[in-house]
Amino acid sequence: MPVTPKTVQMRWNENTVAFSLITSASFTVDAGSDWYVNPTARGLILVITTGTLTGTPTFRPALQTLRADMSTVLSLWTAAAVISTATTVFYTIYPGGIPGGAETESVDIALPRVWRLWIDYTGTPVSDYCSLAAEAAYLI
């Protein structure tokens, strides 16, 4: 079943303010954000915030797109390192990479029209968990 992506309110060819992708009080499964339509941005800043940890969960962000059937998932990038502490980290996603800041990882990819964030979780759900919030801001 083809997915129907959602579009963040943005004017033509405009940087956007950050918008929420995932908000979870207790993140204990592999899960993705909604699918988004990116009309005119080439990349984004991805921000992940984790709260006080119970146990030893880990979280690994990834970006995915869809193939021509708008149904088959294609992975574009998986973070080099997992997140395993209470922290706020950000990733810069842009063609050529933009490593000039304090980002955890600079990723040399272009953001296609259809995309979503995916979080791989490891741990035992009843004992390893924390709050997790993810947001993004488009970069033209």
Binding site: W12, N13, N38, P39, T40, A41, R42, L63, T65, L66, R67, A68, M70, L74, S75, L76, W77, T78, I93, P95, G96, G97, V107, D108, I109, A110, L111, P112, R113, V114
Partner: protein, 139 residues
Amino acid sequence: MPNLPQNAALRFGENAYPFTILAFEDETQADRTSKVFINPTGHGLYLVVVIGVLTGTPTYRPRLYMRSASGSNLLLWAATAVLSAAGTYRYALYPGGLAGGSPQESVNIMIPREFLFDLDWVGTGSDHADTTVEGIPLL
């Protein structure tokens, strides 16, 4: 001649939806050549090649061409390595290349206005596999 973007609602300078370059074909035993596509404003694309159900030892190599003013096809790029195993392969064709996410190949190239791809088959007799080629446009 099909155009990109293929969605009439798209505005100028907008990322286009993923599209089919060569639709799924059972038992590809010959070179396959796509239609000519028009790229109004994109810089590059992710090329997705899917190889499945190999019989024998066929190999496949994707290649990009520009349609020249005379109507002939000018070879712009041929994949460095042939594909000889089942899998989904992503090539990043973009100015400067896009090495992130470990693509099959990162190619420092731009996609011109009129372009097409072919899939070069090499094999003998019953060497074949199922093949699909798609594109994901990038501004």
